[in-house]
Symmetry: C2
Subunit: 346 residues, 2 copies
DNA sequence: GCGTTACGTGTTGACGTTTACACGATGATG
DNA sequence: CATCATCGTGTAAACGTCAACACGTAACGC
């Protein structure tokens, strides 16, 4: 009952009030709350009733102070609106929840300053563990902060000098495969638009691209490589620039979840037809490639699995801190669709 | 330096250690930490140096216990992977961060049980305020839990019997407008696929639809209305069912961010051409409608603004709890594109 | 019937902060 | 020169919980 009406702040009942109401000591209430076996069934029932009556919820701050754990995991993501990370969170949730941990997500909007703020907030709040995706491997401050955390951390797809478990995604091989296929179709100039080389996915994709170009014996033209920012605007701008240049590519790799729609929009705006005028490959978006016409070949990954693996590593580390850092590599998959064809004869 | 190497849990320095290191009392350290003016500049400098040296971060739990606030806002969303909510979070962030609040997002995956768990966790953690989007207005448990929270809450686009500030989105008028336009083009049978009638957006869209049908003097066929679940699969299934029926509609309203791509896929799979075979309207996705061919007319809303408004209401309530519940209604906008045409003659 | 054990419950610091209060030193004032 | 603010700092209590310890009671074995 206690329908303490009204807005805003109202004092929440404490363990003392529950104890008084149930006619026992606070120790007994505490034992009931933490499901200790050493309580008589009848007493337990009375305490439980008092708790329900008062709507008692133990104060996590006080509990954290005593027990040194918060049952809270923080998830740092560069961008909430990016489905890639949201799917990771969802996957991690499925592993963390059964273990009694709450996963709270925080978006840095790709700002290293915000990342530092989050990491400090996480430390202040004594979160039990963290899953972290930094937006820039070359920014020193967040990395320094990670080194100070003092709790287990799992890093997602980044290469940073930190003692942490890491879940990698495979990027090099899949880009190589695609470039090779395009070369076999007869493409000699292939444009790559990727996220920043300051983070592993972008860097690896550029690496894979260069490697495949060399293997196929094609001319290595750095002008064809664009890797600066993960955004639709950037994808559109670079794609436009590539396709309106003097010696444009005959295929475009839009290697990023946000770059993909941007690049596609640029192609559309220029009135080019896929795959007749230009071959096109997207990445990291499981929906878009299937819905547009023609359907578009896409490099994708099982992000929920990334989340599950990351959460698994974290749980292990939470249970026992032993052992060297662990690394897991998860594959990328290529879904071939109708967006690839031989280049138009000049 | 204190480069206390190693994995996992390491003890973090307390205010006592900082005090000892700086040669002052804990009271003084506390005053420095909370930026009280009553500290001599030279002392302040020494304390700050000690803090930096040790990498001190105040224990939020202890602080929360003393001050009764956590500077934490919780954001409950039905589904992280849905861009609609992610954009709200982003908008709310921009208002909350300057006020010193951290926004932590939690996804319930549309489960009322998970919603209750989050609300209880938020209460245990003594979060200062909440922004909440329930997945089912008819589920009693989460609503009861909200009533017990004891902190300011802002509810997003739901009608529930709770004393809270609410940010609504307009749905009825925009659906009415679209249906009317379709009627004017000559459509007499219009299919509606929406989210559940158990939440306001779905219900309002059905209401708007019925109202417009009546106004336009069209036959009201309940068979044409599908409003059960917000998912791509549901959107695809119902669209397929509508279009393969004996007397199919000549236009489809896919009134939900996840329903939209699902419905579109169904249309594609049936080999129907937009707008020649079928007119099509999407909703709540600002990207998809623009990228497919032909571009699709879409009902959309400025979700970041929803987030900003919600955060604003919350901040006000946090500063002064006075006054009756406030309600804000934000508009929907219709972006007309090439997916609407007169129905094919039978 | 006594000693022993096991069990259920109460009592009592701690956890790390903040903040009201106390106190000594310094400088201004009459 | 005595008085009194003012300022900077230290001290100690409190916040709500847990868990180690203490204690009383009942059951049991001998």
């Amino acid at each position: 009952m206690s329908g303490r009406a009204g807005f805003g702040r109202s004092r929440l009942p404490t363990i003392h009030e529950v104890a008084a109401s149930a006619g026992v000591s606070i120790g007994t209430v505490s034992r009931v709350a933490s499901e200790s076996p050493r309580v008589a069934p009848e007493t337990r029932a009375r305490v439980l009733a008092a708790m329900a009556e008062l709507g008692y919820q133990p104060n996590a701050a006080a509990r954290a102070m005593r027990t040194n754990q918060t049952k809270t995991i923080g998830f740092l993501i560069p961008d909430m609106t990016n489905q890639v990370f949201a799917r990771v969170a969802q996957g991690a949730e499925t592993v963390l929840a059964p273990e009694g941990y709450m996963l709270f997500a925080f978006s840095s909007n790709r700002s290293p300053e915000r990342e530092v703020e989050f990491l400090q907030a996480a430390r202040q709040r004594r979160m039990d563990g963290l899953i972290v995706t930094l937006s820039d491997e070359t920014a020193a401050a967040p990395i320094r902060e990670i080194g100070r955390m003092g709790v287990p951390i799992v890093v997602l797809d980044r290469e940073i000098p930190v003692e942490a478990d890491i879940v990698y995604s495979e990027h090099i091989q899949s880009i190589e495969t695609i470039v090779q296929q395009l070369a076999e179709l007869g493409h000699r100039r292939i444009g790559l638009v990727a996220a920043s080389e300051k983070i592993r996915p972008g860097r690896d994709r550029v690496t894979g691209y260069r490697r495949a170009i060399a293997k196929a014996g094609l001319e290595a033209d750095e002008w064809l490589i664009r890797a600066r920012t993960q955004s639709a605007e950037y994808g559109a701008a670079e794609t436009y620039d590539l396709l309106s240049g003097p010696n444009p590519p005959t295929a475009i790799l839009a290697a990023g979840s946000d770059i993909f729609p941007g690049a596609l929009r640029a192609v559309r705006m220029m009135g080019l037809s896929i795959p007749d005028d230009i071959s096109f490959v997207g990445a990291d978006d499981p929906v878009l490639g299937e819905l547009v016409f023609p359907p578009i070949t896409v490099i994708d990954r099982d992000m929920a699995e990334v989340g599950r693996q990351a959460a698994g590593l974290l749980i292990d580390r939470l249970k026992s801190l032993e052992g060297p850092p662990r690394r897991i590599m998860l594959p990328s998959t290529i879904t071939l669709r109708a967006s690839l064809a031989a280049p138009r004869r000049r």
